[in-house]
């Protein structure tokens, strides 16, 4: 053994560990937050900024969501700051990556609360992460707003936990009803992705709703998020000859599935849950997606000035059209901004102000929080025509 060298390297290793630890500790206050849009070269720039935190999945398998959500928040902050900020103070947002892991989400939220001392938090992306991060925020008395968490019972975590993402239970009844009426559905096949939270909770809600509306489920099949080959499921499902296919999955799998189903000869309607809500669905599936039905709080093709402006700005910023995740993230930041107007630097006041929002009009439409801090809004039922989402014609 090269003793001398070995010792030196070991000492180096330990010193490195300690240095890293110290740096992480003493690095407080120097976090590199992205520049908040408008520069406000005014005397108000001396006023302390209003700090907000955001936790999204920005890497790993599910990074697609977070990477769509972040620009939504950034856009909102830029707009607000350009218009002079809130009471003359700029908003400063710090983004953290949860990587889709519970441990990371907890660390991220703790860092935002303790080190960055944010007034409110947006996110995290997944309902599971919220079950963990939300509790931490609740215990610390920091308002946290989920902009994509759609599972049941999220806001039961506590009175500091909010969400503006309409849960499946608020959307699917409309979707199923509209589809049933248009296509006279009596028996359907239900497929779902078994291994991701959005799809599973959507599936549960679909099954309840189909039962309630008297539609028979003749065959079921499942697959996994990340699957790209559905031949087996398609063969099985088409053998039962359903009037319609109900699919609860994310858009990637849904798109691939549709293409393969159409290739296999299926001609009927395809009804989807939240996961269908993306312009990418039609991009990937092309003709196979024609006629697909989905309910959504977000409709980018709406003839509304606010919506058009948002779509334009977002597309310029990112090169892609905004999807539901982006839209809800944008609205979420706007909601927080509303609360900041009244609550200032006081987290409790911000919480109360947030809870009191009863009449806000965002790009996703009319919005209010109910007494459980869940969203009150009416979704649109859309179908794909000519590669675009349009409102469903009966």
């Amino acid at each position: 053994m090269r003793k001398g060298k070995g010792t030196r390297i070991a000492a180096f290793g330990v010193a490195l560990a300690m240095t890293v630890g110290l740096l992480a500790g003493c690095g407080g206050g120097k976090e590199a937050s992205p520049q908040s849009g408008g520069t406000g070269g005014t005397p108000a720039a001396e006023a302390k900024p209003l700090k907000v935190g955001a936790v999204f999945i920005l890497s790993g398998n599910n990074a697609g969501y977070g990477l769509a959500q972040r620009p939504g928040v950034e856009l909102a902050v830029e707009e607000i700051n350009k218009a002079g900020g809130i009471n003359g103070r700029m908003i400063e947002v710090t983004f953290e990556d949860s990587q889709g892991k519970t441990e990371e989400a907890v660390n991220a939220v703790r860092k935002l609360i303790d080190k960055d001392e944010v007034l409110a938090i947006i996110g995290p992306t997944l309902s599971g992460e919220m079950s963990s991060a939300g509790k931490v925020a609740q215990e610390a008395g920091v308002p946290i707003l989920g902009v994509s968490t759609t599972a049941k019972g999220i806001t039961d975590i506590g009175n500091f936990v909010f969400r503006n993402s309409l849960p499946e239970a608020g959307v699917l009844p409309y979707t199923v009803k509209a589809a049933r009426e248009k296509y006279n559905l009596k028996k359907v096949a239900v497929l779902h992705a078994a291994n991701d939270q959005f799809s599973v909770s959507g599936y549960n809600t679909f099954m309840e709703e189909l039962k309630k509306q008297g539609i028979e489920v003749v065959v079921e099949a499942s697959f996994n998020t990340g699957d790209r080959e559905f031949g087996a499921q398609i063969t099985k499902v088409l053998a039962a000859n359903p009037d319609g296919l109900v699919v609860s999955s994310l858009y990637q799998e849904a798109a691939l599935f549709m293409v393969q189903a159409r290739q296999a000869g299926y001609k009927g309607p395809i009804i989807g849950g939240n996961g269908f809500n993306s312009p990418k669905l039609a991009e990937v599936a092309k003709e196979a997606a024609e006629g697909s039905i989905v309910g959504s709080p977000w409709f980018g093709g709406r003839d509304d000035a606010k919506v058009k402006a948002f779509v334009k700005a977002y597309t310029e910023k990112t090169g892609k059209a905004p999807d539901q995740f982006a839209a809800q993230a944008y609205d979420g930041m706007m909601l927080i901004a509303e609360a900041l107007k009244q609550g200032g630097d006081n987290r409790d006041k911000i919480r109360d102000a947030l809870a009191g929002i009863k009449n806000y009009v965002g790009v996703t439409g009319q919005f209010a929080f109910d007494e459980n801090r869940n969203p009150v809004m009416t979704p649109f039922v859309l179908e794909i025509q000519g590669g675009q989402y349009v409102e469903l014609k009966k």
């Binding site: 003793k3 890293v20 291994n195």
Partner: protein, 317 residues
């Protein structure tokens, strides 16, 4: 403050995980199964607490025990596997458990297990009942988090101490003999089956305990927390820190986890830098940061005699 306490607590858990892999590796078995055992321990502890109301000091060891019990047949089944075959087979075990956890209702499926009783919260409630004010000028919440850290560090310390002790005992020598040359060890009368399965079960116990602790620290666990990336992460702690001394995985865990947190500063480049640093560390020091020869060197410098005769240089990485 709570942030640093939280990170340090997770570092202790990571240290336990590193030690769990180390134990199995010390018999020459390359395992990626401890993430699966962590899953078992976590869900067991969580479910016992939620459904049966067991206290945390019971659920965590119970999780570890269940994992150890499952490890016995698994270890026995994989006895004849070597090297990469064993690694992939154990990876298969982990992946299968993740898929199962994703599909069962009792584990909450893809939505995971939530509302798990939280150690810090429990401690805080207890403390409020007995103390008027938290000591050291901390808030009650911070003090509770500090206690949680101390408990986790104590568990890590206990695991470490037991492993060091075992390493000096007959069991430890058997492990090393098996690692160096299994056939020769067997020829010399060492019951390799027993020791290999023992190491496997011990590693599983530690991983299960770590899983149970994790569940009680984060309120929520999901199948994705215990998959391939977790299994690999544990292995990296050991390889980077040093595969031949127990202090290695602990240092590796501390260094890598602290690094990962610090790299939040790097924003979007975080994982790129982390991966790059991993490659660099292994390139510069492929045998790991800490090696047994190193300790001998330090002892010599400090003027202490050799602790015990080294059981053959084959023990080195």
């Amino acid at each position: 403050m709570s942030y640093y306490l939280q990170v340090a607590t997770f570092i202790c858990i990571s240290g336990i995980l590193g030690l769990s892999v180390y134990l199995v590796l010390s018999t020459g078995q390359l395992t990626l199964g401890n993430a699966g055992f962590m899953l078992l321990g976590g869900y067991t502890a969580g479910l016992l607490a939620i459904r049966l109301g067991w206290p945390i000091w019971l659920t965590v060891p119970a999780g570890g025990l269940l994992a150890a019990v499952v490890a016995v047949p698994l270890g026995a089944a994989t006895l004849r596997l070597r090297g990469v075959y064993l690694a992939i087979a154990t990876l298969g075990f982990t992946q299968s458990l993740v898929v199962i956890a994703n599909n069962l209702t009792i584990t909450g499926g893809a939505l995971g297990l939530k509302d798990i009783p939280n150690l810090a919260a429990r401690l805080q409630r207890f403390l409020r009942g007995v103390l008027a004010e938290a000591p050291l000028g901390l808030t009650m919440a911070q003090f509770a988090n500090l206690l949680v850290l101390l408990i986790s560090a104590a568990l890590l310390g206990l695991a470490y101490w037991l492993i060091v002790r075992q390493g000096k005992s007959r069991v430890g020598r058997a492990f090393t003999a098996i690692r160096t040359d299994e056939v020769a060890a067997s020829a010399m009368g060492i019951n390799t089956t027993y020791y290999k399965v023992l190491a496997f079960a011990q590693g599983a116990f530690l991983a299960g305990v770590a899983g149970g602790m994790m569940a009680h620290l984060t309120y929520f666990i999901g199948p994705n927390d215990f998959g391939f990336s977790r299994a690999v992460e544990m292995l990296v702690f050991v390889v980077v820190g040093g595969t031949a001394v127990p202090a290695g995985p602990v240092l590796g865990a501390a260094l890598l986890r602290a690094l990962s947190e610090y790299l939040r500063e790097a924003k979007d480049l975080r994982l790129i830098v982390y991966g790059g640093l991993m490659m660099l560390m292994v390139l510069v020091r492929p045998q790991g940061l800490l090696t047994p020869g190193m300790f001998a060197g330090w002892r010599r410098r400090l003027g202490l005699g050799p602790r015990r005769p080294a059981p053959g240089k084959g023990a080195g990485a």
